[in-house]
């Protein structure tokens, strides 16, 4: 199983990208998009990659194109959107790894530092702290993984 790092991109930006694409008829050249939105191209690429990981856009050539799932997400209210994001997160091996480890714990929770150790083992080339924060951020959005910074505990929010 290939563990792909989760980019440190706010999911609000990913959904904003889908809305902008929808506004433009569902597709746009990536470079033109960066110019019209006045966003640095490197930053936009990160957002596009995040959207692609979640199967919300495809990137044939230099185009960014909304997928059927991306269009479906836009039709939902915020809680419907979060459900779609959760479904997609559960398909990512890195999320599956964390969710399965949390599920195996007696109270479905573990210390943040243990999560960091797990990530060091499975994604040794990544900055584990950064990756853990990205997982918590996306996990909170999908109501899949929660985190209490007072106790330093990561927990399974609602798996299904």
């Amino acid at each position: 199983m290939e563990f792909i790092p989760i980019p440190r991109v706010a999911l609000g930006k990913v959904i904003g990208l889908l809305e902008v694409l929808d506004d433009l008829g569902g597709r746009e050249n990536g470079f033109r998009l960066a110019v019209s939105l006045q966003i640095e191209f490197g930053e936009l690429i990160l957002v596009i990659k995040a959207a692609e990981m979640l199967d919300l856009v495809q990137t044939p050539g230099t185009e960014v194109v909304l997928t059927g799932r991306g269009k479906e997400l836009l039709l939902q209210d915020i809680n419907g959107r979060k459900k779609i994001v959760k479904r997609q997160l559960l398909r990512l091996p890195t999320f599956r790894l964390i969710v399965d480890i949390l599920k195996a714990q007696p109270e479905r929770k573990m210390p943040y530092d243990t999560i960091v150790d797990v990530l060091v083992t499975h994604l040794p080339e990544e900055d584990p702290g950064r990756l853990a924060r990205a997982i918590i951020d996306w996990g909170r959005f999908g109501e899949l993984v929660g985190y209490n910074s007072r106790t330093g505990t990561v927990y399974l929010d609602q798996e299904e």
């Binding site: 706010a10 609000g12 809305e19 915020i78 809680n79 979060k82 996990g139 909170r140 929660g146 985190y147």
Partner: protein
């Protein structure tokens, strides 16, 4: 007198007939004293906002839009003229009105839930009702899952969602937003604009009308039923434009660019 609303060239949509008046602003004037010099900010500003209207205030930067919003919300007093809310003069902050600011206004040592509940502490509500409302509006703005998060752990878009939840939890009829998206990047603001419109249209939320200050003309055309165009200081209303593009809107709709260009020429 404020001009009668003129209509931007756009497709006609059904509107509620004879919506009731919510807010009446009449002949407002305000002068500030700055280093011994008198600086007129507002000069004879008059308009009415009806129920179920989304009104945007646009105009040159530093032109008094925020001052006008603060006076409407009772946070500032005018030197001349009156503000009446449901026919009652506004003389201070009132419970049917809530603000959303550009800078979020969050307390960093409180988590999401506590920041939202904080807005309710000034109201004499039973603790259970405070909890119910905080949970309901946290859900409505998409912050479920973030209840225990502190502002430092959140993106700017999520921080502004807290600002929205806190304002909505007061259950205002009139929401006053002062450039709520201007400190967000283009993608995050595209996302939140659309969600604010959904919340305004949500039948479970008692909000009736919105007045939003913005410096982005396209944002006003995307969101507003009416756009009040203010002159440079001292601000007067130079046009009151009804936008009747069907919702949901996008910039490719016929009439969108005509409306934007018309406002742009007024502000230039």
């Amino acid at each position: 007198m404020s001009p009668e609303p003129s209509t931007a060239p756009a497709t006609q949509v059904e509107r509620p007939a004879q919506a009731r008046s919510l807010l009446e602003v009449a002949a407002l004037g305000k002068t500030l004293s700055l280093e011994g010099k008198l600086l007129p900010i507002l000069d004879g500003v008059s308009f009415t906002v009806r129920e179920d209207e989304f009104v945007c205030l646009v105009g040159p930067s530093g032109g008094g839009k925020s001052t006008l919003l603060r006076i409407i919300g009772g946070l500032d007093r005018p030197d001349a003229g009156t503000v009446r809310y449901r026919d009652v003069p506004v003389s201070g902050p009132h419970a049917r009105c809530a603000f959303v600011f550009q800078t979020f206004g969050l307390l960093p040592w409180l988590n999401v839930n506590e920041n939202v509940e904080l807005g309710l502490e000034a109201m004499t509500l039973p603790r259970e009702e405070r909890r119910r409302r905080a949970a309901f509006y946290i859900d409505k703005v998409g912050l479920d899952g973030y209840e225990e998060a502190y502002p430092r752990e959140l993106s700017s878009g999520m921080k502004q969602r807290i600002g929205l939840a806190r304002a909505f939890a007061i259950e205002p009829e009139l929401l006053l937003m002062d450039e709520p998206f201007s400190s967000l990047d283009a993608l995050t603001s595209a996302n939140l604009r659309e969600e604010v419109i959904r919340l305004w249209q949500d039948g479970e939320v008692p909000l009736k009308s919105v007045i939003m200050v913005t410096n982005i003309i396209e944002e006003a055309v995307l969101m507003a039923d009416r756009i009040l165009v203010l002159s440079k200081r001292p601000a007067r209303i130079v046009d009151d434009i009804r936008i009747e593009l069907p919702r949901p809107r996008n910039s490719r709709q016929a009439g969108f660019h005509d409306a934007s260009d018309r406002i742009f020429r007024l502000i230039l």
